[in-house]
Symmetry: C2
Subunit: 214 residues, 2 copies
């Protein structure tokens, strides 16, 4: 079971490469060198080559990288070349905002279900998707082969809801609740802790203010 040895840091950068390559592709650029890309992205060319070579020799000496080819290869690495159905647990403001956000669909992530335990929301439709009661979760997951769940419930319910999701067969949780989930290690958890992000902003803000220098 040797854990695929790509470092966390590299994986974190992969979507950003993908974004820049997408923009290059749109602008009709056919090929790009690590040096040129490094300038655009504000990273070292060395790092770009090292990162990409974790996955394979996508480039060609003397030429650089073919934008379209590299874009597609990274798409495969990230799994955005296929459709992933996703459900959202917790249909409050954030859950609805995620459901409404059409851009995820472009990367293959399709919201197919919305759930909540607040009966006032039952039947409400967001982008044509009806909010369902939690009681219907188990059957929905297995009937639709859902693997990804976005968790946008209050902190107090997050842990037990996550455990339920795992029991029902969910393989990956996109966690927006302000808590750690501590699930079996084969379950993928990607945390989005907005309040922590805001605190980091604040930390940096008060320090740039201290020394008023430009």
């Amino acid at each position: 079971m040797e854990k695929n040895g790509i470092s966390r840091a590299v994986i974190k950068r992969l979507p950003r490469y993908y974004r820049y390559l997408g923009e290059l592709l749109e602008s009709g650029t056919e090929r790009i060198s690590s040096g040129e890309l490094s300038q655009r992205m504000n990273v070292t060319a060395s790092q770009i080559r090292q990162d990409l070579n974790n996955f394979g020799g996508f480039g060609q000496q003397g030429y650089g990288y073919n934008v379209e080819y590299l874009y597609n290869e990274i798409a495969k690495l990230l799994g955005v070349d296929k459709q992933h159905n996703m459900i959202i647990i917790g249909s409050g403001n954030l859950g609805q905002a995620l459901a409404n956000y059409t851009n995820f669909q472009k990367s293959g992530f399709v919201v197919t279900g919305l759930f909540d335990n607040n009966e006032k929301l039952y039947g409400k439709k967001v982008r044509g998707i009806e909010v369902l009661p939690m009681e219907r979760l188990e059957k929905f997951i297995s009937a639709n082969h859902i693997e990804i769940a976005a968790l946008t419930v209050p902190k107090s319910e997050a842990v037990k809801t996550a455990q339920m999701l795992v029991k029902y067969g969910i393989k990956a949780i996109w966690n927006f609740a302000h808590t750690d989930l501590d699930l079996p290690k084969e379950i993928v958890v990607e945390n989005v802790h907005l309040s922590e992000s805001l605190m980091r902003l604040s930390y940096n803000l008060i320090r740039t203010e201290d020394c008023g220098s430009v």
Copy 2:
């Protein structure tokens, strides 16, 4: 102008310490050792002590750390001991979700203004805050001494909107747009790239599936 030498990695962990200490405080725990905290948080005790000692000797040999004291010290470091007024630029789904989210206020971040360039939204109220047209941005920022702006506009408008914010005096941008902003270095930018987060989740998901082992 020597850049305050605390490493990015340490700052990233600070809000998580704060969260755990808050929970300990709520549960009535008076003191905690780095060893005990390390077990709860699943990090090494050594790291905790190293991290905290970047900012000062908050502990006491033979005793550990006083929970309330440490909690308050970290609050000061993060700047969550004071109120920060924040405006939201882009009052679509995500902007409204952020405005509706009451928890930020507990950490001192208060949404005081909502803006959009879609006139259909003008006058709409979210938690009592009216959506204003972008034309009123400049005066609002200076009149209310706003330093923080959450940017939840479409990617295509993000860069020029950010530049406008900086021109009007904004010091920190919480960027939800799927693009890099590239602003003067004295401007704090904290990125929340949700689609990149989802791609990382996807990356890890397809790899745990590949080797079906538990």
